[in-house]
Amino acid sequence: DAGITQSPRYKITETGRQVTLMCHQTWSHSYMFWYRQDLGHGLRLIYYSAAADITDKGEVPDGYVVSRSKTENFPLTLESATRSQTSVYFCASSENVNGYTFGSGTRLTVV
């Protein structure tokens, strides 16, 4: 589905650097989410947003910051990247409880 786009697809960064992962959706869905996927942990919710300018912490928010100034964008920033943040990050959007649509993911490696 071209409706939700994540960039970049792959990113290698150094410990301590700030990194921003982008997420853009074209459906005007109210809800947007950031998950990280790690072996043995499945998908864990980092942050979510119910609307522009409304965000809230998920299960694993430490070390991450989000913003949502526009409905269609939901960037995720790692303020000072650590090796434990090496993961695959998925953005998702939803209009209701009927189900979410996921982006293609960003594979982030912190060295």
Binding site: S30, Y31, F33, Y35, G40, H41, G42, L43, R44, L45, Y48, A50, D56, G58, F90, A92, S94, E95, N96, V97, N98, G99, Y100, F102, G103, S104, G105
Partner: protein
């Protein structure tokens, strides 16, 4: 808060074998239930979902799942698997009245399914 448990972390089957992946959830109220599939290198795709009504739901690619309320289970089944079913499978749950999904889906840890030709 809700939680999801998937019993099998790795499953290896031969083509044409029958498949059943277990999923149990923990939550005191009404939930919506989902199975997602992630093919190698790809994003998650919805296989099927259950909200209400007939507890046996059919999804894409010949998959089905049965909701058993008394057991808090939502097991995924397929009568005859194919090599192309090799993927990661995730069960997920969300409270049915969470106001639009604000709390986010809660996922199980996933089951890695390998189908041998």
């Amino acid at each position: 808060a809700q939680s999801v448990s998937q019993h099998n972390h790795h499953v290896i089957l031969s083509e044409a074998a029958s498949l059943e992946l277990g999923c149990n959830y923990s939550y005191g109220g009404t939930v919506n239930l989902f199975w997602y599939v992630q093919y190698p290198g790809q994003h998650l795709q919805l296989l099927l979902k259950y909200f209400s009504g007939d507890p046996l739901v059919k999804g894409i690619k010949g998959f089905e799942a049965e909701f058993i309320k008394s057991k808090f289970s939502f097991n995924l089944r397929k009568p005859s698997v194919q090599w192309s079913d090799t993927a990661e499978y995730f069960c997920a749950v969300i409270p049915a009245f969470s106001g639009g999904g604000a709390d986010g889906l809660t996922f199980g840890k996933g089951t890695h399914l390998i189908i041998q030709p």
